[in-house]
């Protein structure tokens, strides 16, 4: 195969990874309380980072760089939930109340 193939194959992965990363960070901004923000960032942490790293692995081919990228992928995959779990427990312990209903201030469509 000519050498442009890995470069071109990585484009969809990088694009999808960047997209999901932005989706996660937009969720981090727009979500009403801590717990849902954690949910949003876990999307970008696991899915967006995984796609980005896979896109980079494809361009790196079979080499030490791919091994390092895979190690980074594993670390992010394992440390993400650990940190989120500790954060949720700490927030719960500090009696941070989740927002269960849409605040009346914003007029929602439902009467």
């Amino acid at each position: 195969m000519s050498e442009w193939f890995p470069e071109l194959l990585s484009w969809p992965f990088l694009a999808a990874g960047a997209f999901f990363y932005l989706v996660g960070s937009i969720g981090l901004v727009r979500m009403p309380d801590v717990y849902t923000r954690m949910h949003a960032t876990s999307v970008s942490d696991t899915f967006g980072a995984a796609l980005l790293l896979i896109g980079m692995m494809i361009t790196a081919g079979l080499s030490l760089v791919t091994a390092k990228l895979f190690v980074i992928f594993l670390i992010i995959l394992f440390t993400g939930p650990v940190a989120t779990h500790a954060l949720a427990r700490a927030a719960r312990y500090a009696k941070v109340k989740p927002v269960l209903h849409k605040p009346e201030g914003k007029s929602s469509s439902k009467p």
């Binding site: 960070s25 923000r37 670390i75 992010i76 940190a83 954060l87 700490a90 312990y93 500090a94």
Partner: protein
């Protein structure tokens, strides 16, 4: 394509910094700090690819581990007031 992904990660940085500044509770700020750490790792490896320097990935690996330890340390500090506290197994109150 790498620069596009790098720009997206930088935008994610900006959102996380905005959440860190605005976050009402301290846990939003800890969450934003954790997200900034992960985004920094990805930006680091993307720039390592852009500038053709594979050594950045080693920094990324160490920073990924440090990021977790930092988050846990900050959380423990906020919960027990100091880091040397043994931490007891408290009952799961509702």
């Amino acid at each position: 394509m790498f620069s596009a992904a790098a720009i997206a990660v930088v935008i994610a940085h900006i959102f996380a910094v905005w959440r860190a500044l605005k976050g009402p509770t301290v846990f939003d700020r800890v969450l934003a700090a954790h997200t900034i750490g992960t985004a920094a790792i990805l930006l680091l490896s993307l720039l390592g690819f852009l500038t053709g320097r594979p050594e950045f990935l080693d920094i990324g690996i160490t920073y990924a581990l440090l990021n977790l330890i930092g988050t846990l340390a900050v959380l423990k500090f906020f919960r027990y007031g100091d880091l040397s506290h043994a931490g007891e197994e408290e009952p799961a109150e509702t």
